[in-house]
Symmetry: C2
Subunit: 390 residues, 2 copies
């Protein structure tokens, strides 16, 4: 039975969260009066809460602004430089790493070739590399998110992976956590990409998103009410695990096979250039997967479908044929809009750093329920190094 004991402390904690999220949502320092007005809390309460937050280091006070009449108010700012969060996307063709401050500001990004030494050491190396390149101190690192292709257990172990067979069975979360001494969240790459698109990409503003990735594999991931659908066996979305489709010709790698061109990207490029064979193959492919996609739409009925095909913008060569093929399967006219991915292949690494925010926000902020500042993690932030104003 859930006891309600200690609700007073919970109230204080909730107020901390309210003030913190308000400060984290803007760059401008806010005065006590404004915070009080925005949160509905009384002035003394806001003051007490800010005192607590100052002690944690997550909020810093700025010099009183001396404009206008009256006593100048102290202003408070979210201390985005108080910590770092890193995300790593590890695939068979290399690793990507991103490092952000606590407000989601991108401080560094790097790509690495596949590591011949094997194991998970490339994750550690990617984080060290991106930290060096952006001249940040890894001592300030608070949490790490890792994206892997395959089925990942709740404990962070890689249960199955066609793309990274050498890591299967490894407790990736534990290994990386031991290496770097920080909490680590591991999840499937497609799921994390879906999360990134839902929060800061083409699905922004929608809480129910179906993410469809067509590349070397065919994968579907769904975000419902803003959270990734994991599934009982954590394999929700592994549409590649279905038989009877063309990619089973090369089931060893779980990859799609193409005939008019060697790779899916090449087919898309050729179709975009007007190649009739490529266009026909895409139409044929869309007709094959339309039944599955229509079934997903009918069962989940999402607000939007985000499609990533590897060659943005793919609207003409992939999105419209797919949309038309799916429409043929549906009787009801209601159909969610099909849009092209906004984050591209960076969605995975952005999702990785996002899940790091999510999973360990309580540890990072010492208060529970603080959301990751996802609105900041957008694709249009330049890659350039952006130092924090100390």
């Amino acid at each position: 039975m859930d006891t309600v004991r200690g609700a007073a402390q919970a109230e204080r904690s909730a107020n901390q969260v309210a003030c913190l999220r308000l400060l984290a949502g803007t760059d401008d320092p806010q005065t006590v009066g404004v915070i009080s007005e925005q949160t509905g809390l009384s002035r003394p309460t806001v003051h007490a809460v800010l005192d607590d937050l100052l002690e944690t280091g997550l909020v810093v006070a700025t010099d009183p602004s001396t404009v206008g009449p009256g006593r100048p108010a102290r202003a408070f700012r979210f201390a985005r430089e108080a910590g770092l969060v890193a995300g790593v996307d590890l695939g068979p063709r290399g690793a990507r790493a991103i490092i952000c401050d606590l407000s989601g500001r991108r401080l560094g990004y790097t790509e690495l070739k596949p590591d011949r030494r094997g194991g998970v050491s490339v994750i550690q190396r990617a984080i060290h590399t991106v930290a060096e390149e952006s001249s940040v101190d890894l001592e300030r690192l608070r949490a790490i998110g890792v994206a892997l292709p395959g089925v990942i257990e709740t404990n962070g172990q890689l249960r199955a992976s066609l793309a990274l067979p050498e890591l299967v069975g490894l407790p990736v979360a534990d290994l990386v956590s031991q290496d770097l001494g920080r909490p680590v969240a591991v999840d499937n790459d497609i799921k994390l990409a879906a999360l990134a698109e839902q929060r800061g990409g083409a699905g922004r503003g929608y809480s129910d998103v179906v993410y469809l990735q067509i590349g070397h594999r065919l994968s579907v991931s769904i975000v419902l009410n803003g959270v990734i659908r994991q599934g009982r066996h954590r394999l929700a979305g592994e549409l590649g695990a279905q038989r009877g489709m063309r990619w089973t010709r090369n089931a060893q790698r779980g990859q799609l096979t193409w005939t008019s061109q060697p790779t899916g990207e090449a087919v898309l490029r050729a179709a975009a250039a007007g190649d009739a064979d490529a266009q026909a193959e895409i139409e044929d492919f869309c007709a094959q997967i339309a039944v599955r996609v229509a079934t997903v739409l009918l069962v989940v009925d999402p607000e939007i479908v985000v499609v990533r095909g590897g060659l943005p913008p793919e609207s003409d060569v992939l999105l419209r044929p797919l949309e038309a093929a799916v429409e043929k399967e549906l009787v009801f006219p209601e159909r969610p809009p099909f849009v092209s991915s906004a984050l591209g292949r960076e969605a995975v690494v952005l999702g990785a750093v996002g899940t790091a925010f999510d999973h360990f926000s309580s540890g990072i902020y010492q208060v529970h329920g603080f959301p990751s500042p996802w609105t900041r993690i957008t694709h249009d932030i330049p890659h350039s190094l952006e130092r924090t104003t100390k």
Copy 2:
């Protein structure tokens, strides 16, 4: 911005809920000491909470039990007779109605033939009939749940229905609510059946359930984290809205068509009796839907699949062929168990009364978040009239 003002009252309210759900979970009156121990609340707090609950009439005090040494303790009991909740399942072949007290105890059940007068009056008539037959006073009615085949808008309007075309466009919830002067919740019949199976039927104990109904139509509904998946257009689960399947031969009614026997039930009966043609047709049918079912399993990855085929127990004639056909489609060995429906056709009306509990629990109980006492609404409660002890 969500203010946290008034958290003290929220705490009291939460404690009311904790005590109330404890009392509602058992038939035996509980003493303050036991409640205090079970909820973790202190004795004076429990006393204050119970005073509040006594005023609402949802809890009644019993005479002190005079057993054992020491001063006899006052005992408190959930006042299940303090109100009634009704559920109606309206379909093309008639209506079913059930009426329960606040603890989910079945007080009456009735079935009606289709009403020639049309409209929603049959719903009202069904409720009056079941109330008369069980000799309960409808003045005590607190809320009504209505199940309809078709797509139902959030406001309770029937947007589309192949089975009840004469009701399409009617604001069913508003009409019934005006008729009976009580809050009304309307939802799709299959969705409500899925909810009933998840809470008190074959899916009890699981929070993620896929419910598959094969009868006159083919429908899938999913319950995720204990709540019905509604979908953006409220048509999540309308698998019958997909083209390319055999039932589109008779798309006007959205019904399945069968060749070896006139109806699906007859096919199942014949197959159970050993008819080879019927068995072959079932196998053929399962092969057709296996792709769709497999896709659902891969996207949702539920804990269990509940199948209702109209002829319980259908394990041998329907469930196993379906399971085998789906297994052929999957590469991963993980597959949720397929089980037969436990509630049968009563699932719909049980779901209707359940959603009435859900939607209006705050109004019924004056406290927010109180769950419907679903564990009581089980199939094995006899239909017999069960008067409340006044």
